[in-house]
Amino acid sequence: MSAMKIDIRSFLLACVVVSASFCSSVWAQGEVDRATELGRSGNWADAKQVLRPVLNTPAYQTNGRAWFVMGFIHKELHKSTGEFGSDAPERLEAIACLQRAMQLGMNPTDRAVAIEAMDFLSRSYFREAIGMVEGFTWGSTEEIKALYGRYEALEMSLNPTKDLAHQRSDLSRYLGQAHAMLLESESPRPSAELKAIFEAAIGHYGDALKGNPNDYAAQYNLAITLYNEGVRKLKRIDHETSMFELMEIQDGCIDLFERALNPMQAAHAQQPNRLETLKGLMTLHYALSQKAESDAYRAQIEQILGNR
């Protein structure tokens, strides 16, 4: 008799547990469905209000679809608000939710969409990095690197075997070029800032060549940046420059011209008939008072132009 009582109690307890779990699941799914419906009609902010507050409750913590829907809502909010920057909150939330959803598991359709959404978010970081390089301003390097870092981290999470060395190298080359263009701009800058920009340009080209030693553009641009820096120093010479200063400036310039020679020769070795490198070598040897070498490159240029 007492055994029977225990069985009935156990049965009732099991019923309570199962029904509570069922109700919780149905209710939980209800929030997800409501948020999905709101999302379908474009009410992403309302959808967020519905789902976000309950997402960390026990009913949702392990619900992959709920995190997937939340991630998608954050992604759409990121797009609609036009936020930008490596720390844009909606984008970061979208990535965190989608990554969690993938860890928890989803049906194949949701999983495919989640991957596409992460791909889109990853590219959005990349595009922002490109945009900042194109409209480059001094001091924005760290943010560009942060944006690229987020892109790279996301790409690697999607495909851990992906080789991003060339893209990293491209970014460094573009950063080098952006810095070099600042040096060539007319706007006046303090000499310490100019020095820092020049050093940064050289550093970025160096990074680009570490990632891709055969990058023609990085070799050529590095040589030009070094050479042009020397010319800028020379152009500061005027009637107030003493003989001693002239000798010092000349030493500094020749050092830069000599440093420029190696990358220019490396670029030339890759594309021996390219006029810009031939002209670069002709100019560099002339600046180094190496007339015979300069004349030899001049002759090559004339020969190429004569054959056209």
């Binding site: 999302g39 050479y227 010479i237 003989m243």
Partner: protein, 226 residues
Amino acid sequence: MHAASDELSARQASPSFWTRERTVLVRRKEHCGQATWKSSGLARCFIAALICCMYGIDLPSLQAQSQLTHTNTLDESDTRSITKANFLFHFAASNEWPAQCMEGPFRLAIIGNPSLHAILSDKYAMKSIGLQSLEVLGFEDVASLESAPFVHVIYCEESGAKLQQVADAIANAPVLLISDASDGLQNGALINFVSVNNRIRFEINSEEAAKRDLLIGNRILSWAVK
């Protein structure tokens, strides 16, 4: 929800990912009305094609030029002339001429180097050489120097017989003849530019200068290589 995944496109392995994403960026800017002709590759191609049609230019050559827009631009300033110009100014300012030459303008003539003449005219003309004002004259060749007034300093780009011709023309006059030739001092120059460790330096024939009543300054002598 799937419909909202809109612009997501299939991922393709491509070596030119940067270029592809940049194109998307440019298109977006165009869509937002932010595109400029400079940033739009499409517009550049259109203009290039238009120019090609108008002038019958081969498209490949224009494409080759457009590669340059992706690189930094070589500064084409004449570096040797910038350095030489300052040397010449010091040679004018640091030596001493006889008293009869210290009236009127101080004349510096350049033969055969238009770029050096342009730099001197731009940066040093009218500057003071003692109590005199520096006047910079430019000549195409040795022959055209004959009609010139007295000059204190001549820089001659020529070498060999032509340099000797200039030296003969000024004979024993207090004129500082400067050259940039391996045989400069042998052919009558008093100062000759030489290359030492890729740098521009100079050598002096101080005995000949003394014969012409020119006193080479100590500062100049101290930097000479011989």
